[in-house]
Amino acid sequence: MSRLSTLSDAELVQRCRAGSSDAWNELVERYSRYVYAICIKGFRLSDEDAEDVFQDVFTRAFLRLETLRDDSALRPWLAQLTRRRCLDHVSSSGREQPVDETLAGEGSPDLQEVEEAFAVRQAVAGLSDACQDILDRFFAQDQSYRTISAELDIPSGTIASRIARCLHKLRIELED
């Protein structure tokens, strides 16, 4: 985990404004999946179109960072930028069934799912490396307790309990 990854959004924005390219890289790294997920899941853009919007959103974010009024509101600001760029892209591409702004708007189920996934991802990042690793192995890589036990060299009989404890900590992170 890099030193910058522990910074809050507001601190990261302040460093970006001060001209830190490392901070900017961290900002893009932190929000790239989020922006991409809005494009793909919220607006059903193709990979290629999503890539265009992605580039556009971060270019605009870079150029307009000074206009962000509340530094801690980086995420909603990026979400709004992304939604606008997606809608522009859909209308300019002449897609036969344009996305209704109300469907892909802030409260849409798809975008809520993106928000939820992002919140979980951020909360996972707040856990210990050991917890992040074991949760990733079980839930993302579909590894069995036996495989996890062999690869991490911990007793097989304790894996389920360790995962449960990590999930308990994750819940606390999410509620904070």
Partner: protein, 155 residues
Amino acid sequence: MVARCSRDSWPEAAGVAAQAQAIRDRAVTLAQTDERVWQDALAALAGAQIEQDSDERRDHRLEQTLERAAAAPLEIAELGADAAALAALAGERGDGTYRADASAAAALAAGGARAAAHLVQANLGVRPGDARLARARASEQAANDAAARLLEPLR
């Protein structure tokens, strides 16, 4: 179910319920995969019987198809061991009211692991001493042991 009903008395219950859900989802996908790869294997075997002449490439393809057909039940056997271990944990730490339900879940999971290990063994591509068979049998044993932890005291 046992973990969901134990939330008031057991802080890890929600985490156990989440793992049970993940195991259930995986089991559904694996069962579908198992059916598909076994159909592929049967078709490949039937094709090999029609063409009597030996063909190295065809034999290699048949071997790969059988390998896939053995891999799916092997994963199911491991999943059965995980389900039994989780049920044992829920039975031991969860609300005692539901211990018998946890025991039943562990017994079913152990049965699933045993059936899956049998399918691995029955697969024509698996010979005695095959490492995959050893893994499947180890999963079967682990599932049995987990179930026995809950079932033995009831006898």
